[in-house]
Point group: C2
């Protein structure tokens, strides 16, 4: 006998989780489509060189890749994708001529990372990405936040905040302080402010400068990979986050650190934040560009009817170091910030530079499906049930099973899911099955009812039964009961 | 620069294929749910011993498995699943105590087989399975055909035939002819009747007997694996098909072969077929059981409103050798039989015997999603479009982009998908984009219209434009135009 366990770090997803998950994915697909995003699918298996790029020296990435080989294949040639962004870059590079730009795609699928297994961290998880490739327009920037808003709203998240920044503002700030060469270290410290507080960030900003060189091939800073950052596991960060510059200390003076933190801490909220940033940095061309972009985005989101209290400017938000070049987003569920970001993304200058010389700028975001489901489950917001059909048609012992099949079929034709119990076992057991699965009502026709062409309708929660309803009223009686039960 | 090609035998699925595919999958999910099937998901990666079972000597299976290893992992321990049936068996064995039976699940996902790449044959493809585990009831048998009927109908397949047989009838026939020891060879020959005709089958039935033993560990008959049988590649056959008994010649007398073929050829259709089978074989207990099961199924399908002309008894239908033990199904699209079966399945005695001593009988089927899509595409039945949103809102150069965002947002709130073109480029280029993507209408507000709070509605197919519609009529005018266009 073989042990039916799954491999370490993997999991089965049971119906009670899959049902709300499928519902959420269906609403995401509808949201994406409503904005003109189209679905694509790429293989789970990619050529190794596509995944490892030219920075194949990045041991951390290579170490967590799952290699794939079949008999007769060459070891080291194939691997499982670890995100949906590298496959998007390859797809766009390959197909951009026939597809044209702008190209707006969404993709939902499994990705694989050979991490050390831990609670809530899996070696296979689902990513849910949407991107607009081939435009630099602020319309696409604003739309990204709008899609996050629409998707989370349609999924039933009651209150959340989309934090927005533009990396050019931070670049301008650091340049104006003469710290351009220390951007990486400063942003890395700032990204931790929610975890270690102002004092911790100051300490890190004025700390010793690391002597290691910032070479891109020795680039993996262990504390900045998705491996260490739970944000980057579930929320589906674009890959390039794992190609950071080296860990180099910032080595700021106390005064510089204070000025950075003052700017960033005053730069949260909405009213007045951009005006203050303009007063401080408006004369710096790059910062001014970033501020203007943020203004356009807020205006477009207002025009699109996204409520102001769902949006917040956060001038300290960096979201990784080298990848994003313009607007960045991060989304927290209000009151559930400890779960981390449930959706994040931003604008990049050049998506597919590994595969094509054609420059393809774009903007996009990822929704952390698994994390969002876990959060909503804990918050009690999932209207979950383990049954997909609300009605159980009983298979009464000694009754006519063809009648039951006919009644179940009539319910389905009326758009009401109905499950006919397959075996004519004791009726109590059938009712127990229905209650435990989450069916709402049972349609029962015993031999007596059969002769009179009537049925009993049992509420499986209250155990109350409405007796002797004529078969002709089947659809209306059941629909009425279901409406009553859900209201 | 890295070549952006996919690995051999794999493929990208572009929007024009994904859009009808997603639509079809959504209708399948709704169908499954309407019958009370619940979704599950299992990992793409399974432990090797789960996939290879105790018959690990089957070289053909092992040769086509994709092994998976990460750094630090033990080679040979993990592999990609090659179907959804083995994972179902493992899942049920592991979770049956908490889930209870009957357990009705559906699963949709990628499976992987390292076949030699060929046209229309891929190393990764989608399976779409539904099964009812833990019951021997004919209700579940009939429901399997009913779900096939509902799913294909909802997908828009105009006419198809679900062929039904019960393996016990064939068993009874062969037993009554004294041929029980040659069941495998006879069924293998019969399965080819559509390809090689009666004469070919007779030739094979009377041919020389192969001397190789029918040991289960040397079981792989090359001509019966999914590798050679295109049916078994796309339509998603249960795995156990690939554990056939050895290729042993049937060695029938000419008279025996004629009697088998006479029975089988007379056993097609509906009216009278079962009565004739009963007259011929009614005294054989196993055959009588099979015939009674087929009668129950037809009665239940009648009661359920499945039209008779969608069903046909085919007493020669075997669908593989050792796996199915009761009812079997195979479905062809009328007029498109050359594509092979688009859905097939049947009843099995014991699903999870590799993993548990608990006996779990069941019945289920698989829908060949990719094959069905290819067929429907060739038949012109896919109402395909490469745009998910029917309306393109133009971004008129020099106009107010916030107005466009507001109008697009209003359309979406009215349930009408609307894409706002991100860049304010020449309007002709934007219209070209809309036409080529399959958008139906464009909403255009130039600087003149902006001042007057009106818009023009352009039909992208006919290039006709309705001018100066007030903004207040936006939703009704666009909805009206879309209704007119689709009728």
């Amino acid at each position: 006998m073989i042990d039916p366990r799954v491999a370490s770090g993997l999991r089965d997803v049971p119906p009670a989780v899959m049902i709300p998950r499928e519902r959420m994915l269906a609403s995401f697909r509808e949201t994406f489509a409503g904005f003109g995003f189209v679905p694509i699918e790429t293989p789970h298996i990619e050529r190794m060189e596509v995944l490892t790029g030219k920075g194949a020296g990045s041991d951390e990435v290579l170490r967590q890749i799952f290699e794939v080989t079949n008999k007769g294949g060459t070891p080291g040639e194939l691997a499982l994708r670890f995100d949906l962004t590298v496959p998007l870059a390859r797809f766009v590079a390959k197909h951009v001529e026939e597809l044209g730009v702008p190209f707006k795609r969404y993709a939902i699928g499994s990705v694989f990372r050979g991490e050390r297994p831990a609670k809530g961290r899996f070696r296979e998880f689902t990513q849910c990405d949407f991107d607009t490739v081939g435009t630099e327009s602020a319309v696409a920037d604003a739309e990204t936040a709008q899609v996050i808003h629409a998707a989370l709203s349609s999924a039933g998240v009651p209150a959340f905040t989309i934090k927005i920044n533009n990396r050019k503002v931070l670049d301008g700030l650091l340049d104006s302080l003469g710290l351009s060469d220390r951007t990486g270290a400063v942003l890395r410290a700032l990204d931790k402010i929610d975890k270690i507080g102002r004092a911790g960030v100051v300490k890190e900003l004025v700390g010793e400068r690391d002597s290691r060189p910032a070479s891109p091939t020795t680039a993996m800073a262990p504390d900045m990979t998705w491996k260490e950052d739970p944000d980057l596991v579930d929320a589906g960060e674009p890959t390039s986050h794992i190609r950071q510059d080296a860990k180099v200390g910032a080595h700021l003076t106390a005064d510089q650190a204070a000025r950075v933190l003052d700017f960033v801490e005053a730069g949260k909220g909405r009213a007045g934040v951009l005006a203050k940033a303009e007063a401080d940095l408006g004369s710096h061309p790059r910062a001014a560009e970033g501020i203007a972009n943020l203004r356009s985005i807020l205006d477009l989101l207002d025009a699109s009817g996204v409520p102001q209290d769902r949006l917040a400017i956060d001038l300290g938000l960096a979201r990784g170091l080298d990848y994003y070049t313009g607007v960045v987003f991060e989304t927290n569920v209000d009151g559930w910030e400890r779960f981390g970001s449930v959706s994040s993304g931003g604008r990049y200058d050049d998506l597919a530079s590994l595969f094509t010389s054609r420059k393809l700028p774009g903007v996009g975001a990822s929704i952390g499906l698994d994390r969002l489901l876990a959060l909503m489950d804990e918050a009690g917001w999932l209207k979950g049930t383990s049954a997909t059909a609300p009605v159980l048609v009983a298979n009464f012992p000694g009754g006519d099973v063809n009648t039951y099949a006919r009644l179940a079929s009539r319910l389905r034709k009326a758009g009401i899911g109905a499950e006919l119990y397959p075996d004519a076992i004791a009726i109590g057991k059938q009712m127990g099955y229905g209650s435990s699965r989450g069916h709402k009502f049972a349609v029962i026709v015993g031999p007596d009812e059969q002769g009179k062409e009537v049925f009993n309708l049992r509420d499986l929660a209250t155990r109350q039964e409405r007796k002797a309803i004529p078969w002709s009223d089947l659809e209306s009686a059941v629909a009425g009961a279901l409406n009553g039960a859900s209201s």
